[in-house]
Structures are given as structure tokens and as C-alpha cells.
Symmetry: C2
Subunit: 424 residues, 2 copies
Amino acid sequence: MQADINELVEKARQAKAASKKLAFTPTKVKNDALAAIAQALLDREDMILHNNQKDYKEAEASGMSEAMLDRLMLNSSRLKGISDDVKIVAALPDPVGEVIEERTLPNGLLLSKRRVPLGVIGAIYESRPNVTVDISVLCLKSGNAVILRGGKEAYRSNLALANTIQEAAYKAGIPSGAVQFIESTDRGLVDNMLKLKESIDLMIPRGGAALIKFVKDNASMAVVAGGIGVCHAYVDKTADIAKAVAITYNAKVQRPTVCNALDCVLVHKDIAAAFLPVMAKEWDKAGVEMHCDQRTLEILKSVHGLNVHPAVEDDWGKEFLALVGAIKVVGSLDEALEHIEHYGSGHSEAIISEDKNSIDRFLNEVDAACVYANASTRFTDGSQFGMGAEIGISTQKFHARGPMALREITSYKWCIRGNGQVRP
Amino acid sequence: MQADINELVEKARQAKAASKKLAFTPTKVKNDALAAIAQALLDREDMILHNNQKDYKEAEASGMSEAMLDRLMLNSSRLKGISDDVKIVAALPDPVGEVIEERTLPNGLLLSKRRVPLGVIGAIYESRPNVTVDISVLCLKSGNAVILRGGKEAYRSNLALANTIQEAAYKAGIPSGAVQFIESTDRGLVDNMLKLKESIDLMIPRGGAALIKFVKDNASMAVVAGGIGVCHAYVDKTADIAKAVAITYNAKVQRPTVCNALDCVLVHKDIAAAFLPVMAKEWDKAGVEMHCDQRTLEILKSVHGLNVHPAVEDDWGKEFLALVGAIKVVGSLDEALEHIEHYGSGHSEAIISEDKNSIDRFLNEVDAACVYANASTRFTDGSQFGMGAEIGISTQKFHARGPMALREITSYKWCIRGNGQVRP
């Protein structure tokens, strides 16, 4: 363990040193490095997939669930997709140096607010190996050094990817040390990482609720946490039923294991009898288990063969991450808003409505990172928002909120040019 | 003490409840409230000054320094100034609802990034009573509730100001409970305040280094800290000597007790002999004590009667907050940059130079909230930057950097309008 701590501290020190150079590395060098990384991922496919297969077999033998195995698995086409994503980030504008605001004060001082990197980003994440690449390239492009600490299950895959990134990046002129991969997967090491506020400027935990809470409670540096999504869709009395069915189906079923998947449907009482049986039949075809309040059960009892259960208190505010959904009939928009305020996690919330006032109230009043009118919560995603990729989805209000990509891992500084001004 | 804790917890709860309404309070109501506060400060002058005089006499009797007494003291014209500042904030645009970014995605989703309040701001501050007003009105205008915890020395003044603000604001339609003043001045209570992450979204400590460190180390919620300014001016070999003398004099002498005052002058060796004697004579007239490196001492020994001392290691990186300055001769811009990186606090740094390349390098490479070329560091101030006032000066990169006013105590949310879009 002491050797692991020494490795960690030394790598963090190297990252900090590299970050000071990376902050001034020209855009062209960074873009060339990203292009080289994209190419290297393809060139080294055999080595990467070979390591991934070892991880996969070990995980399979240890009894990992199908869903988790699928997240771990790389193949030729997935690797191609990851490589393509790197090219997309390369093509985005460099956030560093961007002038956010500029003005001349009455005394002639020229004030310019310019975007700068944060420094060193620490990322603690779980099984998906593509995260290693996403986070590395977002950090490099935004002038930040990065310290990667991936999950044990994907250790060989992550190491293979990190080595590929490091080799390609340094050869292309990225300051050596800018991408650090922590080799030890000892869980205790996370605690040591959280103490390194002198060398890590921001910690981003991506994973389960326990990991996120541990990082938030124990980090000595800034943390942007998120990823816990208890997402609601409120079907207003004026909803277009076809849209409401399509949106709730997509949000619940299209990829149930992710944070922006739907957890709970709130239905206005005036539309419940018309809407719920249609939705329930669709959900049932996809194998969704429904946890329903009493009024929903009443309505759905006419539909045979559904997998319905009476909801218990614990079903409200639960992130299911599975083909399970909670359903509740509400008396009004206000009741829906109260439910969401009480049980939501501030991630993604949706209203389905044809009434402008209800939509406006919902968009204004729901306090969440992403609030949707007549669209699926599944769109909460950096790539979908045109940000190229994402380093995480923040559910906090502080620093950045919602999908975080390049700009969200920067800060700014004020540059002031004068010609001798002094303060009266 | 338990009664104090109960008071604190209950006031925090009230602030949180009020913040949910204040987030949607119309701009006009907020502006009218600020106008009413500005007027009430004038109307209740007698009561406010009477309470301030009690604080002042007690502080004087307890042996408070002249500088601190001056910060504590209110009079008719200062109160008028505070009232005028409230009007300036009232006239600024409302940050809440501002559309920061808006675009339509290829799938037709309309993405809109809108500014929202943070929620409840906790402010812990020391003796200047005007801070009570500045922070309250910035919070109200930006839709945030505020919990004020002022210094013991200004207790009666702060209470009188807070009561004036509360009465005027609530009468004008601000949700009751939006401005909370903690009456107990027990130091132990700060620790309890730092635990209230459920009801306080952001903590802003304003005061000495010990307070700031305590808050950073112990807060369960987000903190924006700053106010520690170890500020340098680098006089380049190409500097205009008249400008350099005027700027270093202003930055050191105009108000030595504040965080943006100059602490250390770094002078290029090629200009040291011409510049230092002129600067030293000016500083000497103002009574500045100079702590000099060996090369500076050599140069200044020709000037008689200066209050010069050999610098000790502790003088570098020290925030003097007094008519004391450190002076060092450096061999190059690079040496100056290294010195600032090592000893600076990331607050305000200046170069005086006529060389474009040196200026650009300094502005780019110095990692501080505010970096100046040919102007005094004393301009680092929300009012000076056209922000109306300031709630503090952040020296961290996270969330906000430099002077913080209305926008800097907001977050944003993403509002997404669709017409049935689902994720493929």
C-alpha cells in the first residue's frame, strides 16, 4: 500500500508540473495530439481488444451481470466509435483563451475575461473503458492534466487505452506527464487521492451513489458530482397521448441502466384513464415492471397480464437503473411539481403538455440541471447537446450544471490593460 | 449555546423556504425592494448611527486599532454612500432568467441555458458594517436568500442595518425570511453553520486567513474563498519609470489595509538603479517601511533616511496589510514569473512595461484572478469592474474568480423544448 501511495503522490506531482505547460500548449499541438490518439486507438486495436477480452472473461467468470458485461465490452466497431468521438472533440473550438467578456472602463482600462484551464482533474470512474478516452481527450483539449483512476473490472482495458493515449499524445507534443493512470486498484487509495488538494484541482467521481457520497464527504479539493438521476415525466392533462407514450417509452426503455433514464411517471388525473393503459401496454412489451399508486392500479386492472405491483414509499425517489418504473396519478401540475421537488435528484425532468402555461411553469419552477418539455430525458448527454462528449453530468449548481465537457472544466482570469491608471 | 444553534437552524430553514419563492420573484419587485432599502437606510439614519456609535465606543475602549476603528465607523455621508451603492445594484440587469446560450439541435430540440439563483448564501464576515448591505442586496437582486453572520465588533451596527433591510424588503414584496441575521456572536456557532448543507448552498467567508482556512476545511457545502492578496508588481526593464512610480505608489499607499494592496515590488536589474531610488523616496514620504533584498539595499544606500531593512525569507509571500513593502531585484521576466508563481496568492498581479511581448507573457502566464499591465492592483474590486458592488473576491478557480457580484452567485439550468423527440 505505501508503494501505491508513493506512486499516486508522484504521479499527481507530475500531472501538476505538466499542467503548467499544458495551459499554454498551442491549439494546433492539442488538436494534432487528439488526431494522433484517434489514429493510435485504431492502430493498436489488437492490443486493446486483447486486454479487454481478458477483463471480460474475468468479469464473466466472477458472475458480472449481462448489463455490466455489455458496458465493459469493447469490439472493433465500438473502438472505431471511440476513435471517432476523439475526432469530434478535436474539431471543437479550443476553450482556452476564449474571451468571455471584454469592455473598456470609463478610466480607459481594458478589461478582458479570458478562459483558462482549471489545472489537474482527478477522475474516479467505474467499469466503462470508453470513459478513459473521453475524459483524457476532454482534459487535454481544455488544457488540463488528468489523473485517471478506473474501476478494477476494466483494469487491463483502461491501462491499454491510457498507454495508447499517453504514447500518442506525448509524441505529438503534449507535455509529458499530462495523462496519469493510477495502476493500483486498491480501494483504500481513493482516500489518499482525495487528500491531494495541492496537486489536484477538481475531482470528478463517476459511478454509484456510494462512491459519489464518499468523494463528496472526503475530498479536500473541489468536487463536481452527479450521475444520480431520479428522473420524472409529468403527463399533463393537455398532453398529446401519442407523444406522451413515445416519450415515456423511450425514456424508460431505450437504455434503462443509465442516469437519464426515466424512473417515475406522474399523470394528471384527467388524462390518466386514457393514457395509462396505452403506456402500460407498451412498457409491458419491453418487460417493464410497474410500481403503481392506488389510482394507477385501479385504471390498469382492466389490462390483463401486466407486471404491476403496488408502489411502496421507497419507490418514489428511487433510481431504478433497470426495467422498473414507478407510476402515480396526481391531481394537478402543482402536485407534480411538489413531488418532483421532494423526490427528484436535480438531474433531468420532463413535462408532456400542449399547454403553454403549464410548460412555462414546469420549465421555470423545476429545479434540475435539465428540464424538458415534450422530449425524452434520455437527451441529457454531452454528445447530444453538441458538446462533443462529456466528462460527467453535474447535478450540483456550483461551477457547472448538467453535461460537462470542455468549457465546464475551465475557469477564467481577468486581464486588465492600462496605460498608467491608478485608483483615485 | 443550544438556543443559539436552534435559532441558527430555524433561520436557515426559513431562508431555504424563502429562497424557493425568491427564485421566481419578478425583477420589478426586487428592484422596488432595493429602492426601498436605499431609502430606508436614509430614513433610519439616526437609529443606525446611534447603534454604530455604541459599537465604535466599545471597540475604542477595547483598544481596537485606528485602521479597524475607521472600517467600523459609519457617519451620515458614509451611509449615504452605502444607500447610493444599493441604487447602483438596483439599476443593474437582473441576472436571473438571462439566456446564456441558446441553440436548436439538428433534431429540432431548442436548447436554452438559463441563469438561475444558487439558493441560500451564507456569509461570514468581519468588522465593516457596509458588508451587511452589500451582500444582502446582491443576494436579493440575484434571487438568493442570505444568512448573515457578521463580526462581534459591529454587532449593533449590523443588526440595525439588517433590520432596516428586512423591513423595507418584505414590505416591498420580497418573500419573508429571505434575509436572515444570526444574532449570536458566539464563535462556536460558525462550526454549526458549516454543517447546514441542506439549507445553505454556498458559504462565503470574508475576513482573516484563519477564518477562511477554518471555513474551507470544515464546510459541508460549497465555499468561495478569497480575500488573501499577496500582490506583486513587476517593473520590467522597459518600464516607463513615471508610470512605474505612480502605480507602485498607488498600489502600496492608497489603502494599505486591503487585499488588493501591493505587497512586493520585483524590479528588473537593468532598471533598478534608475527606478528604485525614485520609488523609495515616494514611498518614504508616505511612511512605508521597506524590506529589501541585498541588491536593493545596495542601490538604496545612497538615499538617506529611508526606513529600509534587509528582507527575511518570511517577507516574500507575505500579505502586509500595512505600510510595509518588500522589494527585490530580479534578473529577468522569467525570474519574476517564478517568484510570483511561488509566492503569489492568485489575487492580483501587475507588470509595468512598455514591451508588448513581456506584457503578453505576463498576462498569459501569471495564474491569478486579476493580472494587470500598467495599472494599479487596487482596481480589483467589483465596483471598479462595473459590477455594482461585490460579495467577495475569489482567489479560487472554481465557480467564480476575482470580484464576485450578481452573476457570480448564480448557476444555470438547461431548458429543452421539443415536440415529441425521443432518442434513437
